[in-house]
Amino acid sequence: MPFRQKLKAITFPLTVLSWLLLLLSTLSNTNGRAAEWLGGPWPEWLTLTAQAAFAAGAFIFQRGRPDPLHGNDFVGLLRRLVLGPGMLATACVGLHLVERFIQAELPTNDQTFFACIYTVNLGLFVVFLAYINYSWRSLVLFRASPLVQRQWIWFEVLLGFTLLFRLLDWVPPHPLDYFILGGLGTFGVYLSGNQQWVAYLSRRQKWEAVLLQIAIMLALAVFVAYLLRIRLDPKLVAPAPQHAFLLLNAFFGTFYAFMGLMVTVFNLPTASVFEQKREEILSMQRLTQLIQKGQTEEEVYAMLFDSAVQTMDADAAWITLEEDNETTTIQHYHVLPEQASEVERLLQEYKLHQIEYLNNDLSGSSGFRDLHLPYGSLIVMPLRSAKRRFGALYMLKEHRYGFDRENLSILQTFASQTVLSIENLQLVHISLENQRVQEELKIASAVQDSLIPKNLPIDSWFDISSYAASAKEVGGDFYDFLHLPGRQLAILIGDVSGKGVTAAFHVAQMKGIFHALMQENYLARSEREKFPVPSRFMTQANTALARCLEKAAFITASLYIIDYENRGFVFARAGHCHTLYYHSIKEEVSYFQTTGLGLGIIRNESYEKHIKNQFYDYNPGDVMVIYTDGIVEARNAEQEEYGEERLLYMLEQTFSMEADEIKNQILSDLAQFSAGQPMHDDQTLLVVKFKSTQPDVLN
């Protein structure tokens, strides 16, 4: 590697030096004063060596320069070839003309000036060839296989060998020289077949490439013409140059340009097809990008429409969208609404409106002929996903056989891309909507939370402790307290069947019914009738709910009215869980076995017969446990229910504790029982403990 780098670094000075040596040795062979001054004539081998060294140097230098092809800028490469080396040809012609002009004005036999011009032009020609051939190398090796890359290196090496022929003064015997030159020429022709780059040109670029290649060939022709002419000039003193090497290189340079020209010219008619494909790819890319940008549905349809019309080169087109059995046209191009609707109607008649449809001979089918449309071809592409149909894209062309199968498959891709992006947009929309619903559920949850009494009644007669948990954001359990005048307290507990938002609505409704019905009736004749007794309350609540509860829904509830003045309470159980009770006198825990039908099961007056009041005189130290079925129906890993018996057992163990402590003991037992199990139902638990020392009511 270091050797190569060193070689690269000294190539340019060596090339310049060898050209100067060539100039001097040529001058030493002239008849002018310079020759005398140089002490010439120098031996011929020196001139030839200088020539060979210069040619080799110029090629190696050019070989080491950066790739003249930048990306896919083929036209740029050709343009630089014409502008750069092309100028060399112009300079060559210019110098030659100047020399001729001077010769004509001042006729002289002195060969000095002539020799100078010749050496300069020869130098220009070699540099020109090196530049051209290494530009062609970039084109030959463009996307070439490793095989072609190896072939090119062999080509370079073999051409390099031909430099030695003249240097060693070896002329191959007659048939062999033809073989060598012919063989290498054929190799060059073979390599000229590598013209893949032409395919990457657009139509305009192809025209440009044709003109540039003609210009390059002209520049080559100028040099060849000059050298052929100068060969016969009597004033030429230098020995014939390395003709095999230069000839082969000039031949390859010209032939590659010629082949490129031919390939480009023959590709011109198909250029529009390539451009169309290119446009299709670009349209598809544009459609794909729209998906990522997440724009609106209208924009996606508009993009599809523009891309399809442009790509298909349609003369008329429109898009229809179907929503709720209604078809609307959202985009149209060069088509009258009545024409569009007539085509749609006809397709519907033929039952063809749901499928991909291609008709390239509209005048051949009687239905379309009767429409007198100025079009010959029709393509219909439905926009649909596996789940639903969004609409359809219709395209028309004036001439018959305007569309082919490929058009159909491209439209298919367009349609599926569009449907994909529309569905994506809709999914985004739905997820945003879900998010909004979630937010609203949070609000609902907060609202419901505010419905649950935060401040438990504090009294000198009893302790109350409460617990409530919802399985979902909003629940169907409820409880409430209300102090009634005359040392009475009403406690309501209940459960709405079902869960979620509907249940939560009925919870709010029950709370409203509770507060509305528990109003003092001033017309009541006796103290006892001022407030509805629990069974009356249930009947009224049942009537109120009858109209608004869904058919399969019902509500269970229990209402307790505790009267401390009389040390008793009355309650009614409307299908709700039994009340668990500790009787301190009997030192016994049991469930109150009462009957009572849930609310909303019978929705007429006969409900009254199904609900009863239960009266009980409590004693100090009694404990009442009120709950919903979420407690007793909680399950463990074996899918067994917590059950009434276990709850009863818990109260037997804890009745002597404070209300709060009893509740906590029950809850921790429940948590232990249902550990690791999801919460299926809302849970509510109230513990009421009548204090052991009841204040004297008379004070």
Binding site: A552, F554, T556, A574, G575, H576, H578, L597, I601, H610
Partner: protein
């Protein structure tokens, strides 16, 4: 939940197998909603393999109760497990619906 049914001249028997919860109650509702159900004099529900009934399951029977009464169709439950019967009783449904211990008694009604 699996629901199988046997029909004789005037009796339709539905055998409920599994848990009747919110999702399976839809199946039951479909069965009971069929117009031909009201053609029978009796609809017997075999609850022997009914392990659990949720409020949604109860709701299905409740919602059809009035309709059955109006059409003169008797709805009779039999072979009910104790805990399921308890659920019916707590809600007070035992006063509205006929629940008998065995199939013999159910057919005798």
């Amino acid at each position: 939940m699996k629901i199988t049914q046997h029909a004789s001249a005037d009796t339709l028997t539905l055998v409920l197998d599994g848990e009747l919860d919110a999702s399976s109650s839809v199946l039951l509702d479909t069965e009971l909603t069929k117009p031909e159900t009201l053609q029978f004099q009796k609809v017997l529900i075999n609850c022997q393999k009914l392990n659990y009934i949720s409020s949604a399951g109860l709701g299905v029977f409740i919602s059809h109760l009035q309709q059955f009464q109006d059409a003169g169709v008797k709805l009779i439950f039999f072979n009910m497990q104790e805990k399921v019967r308890n659920v019916f009783e707590i809600l007070g449904l035992d006063t509205l619906m006929t629940i008998v211990p065995s199939e013999t008694e159910a057919t005798a009604i």
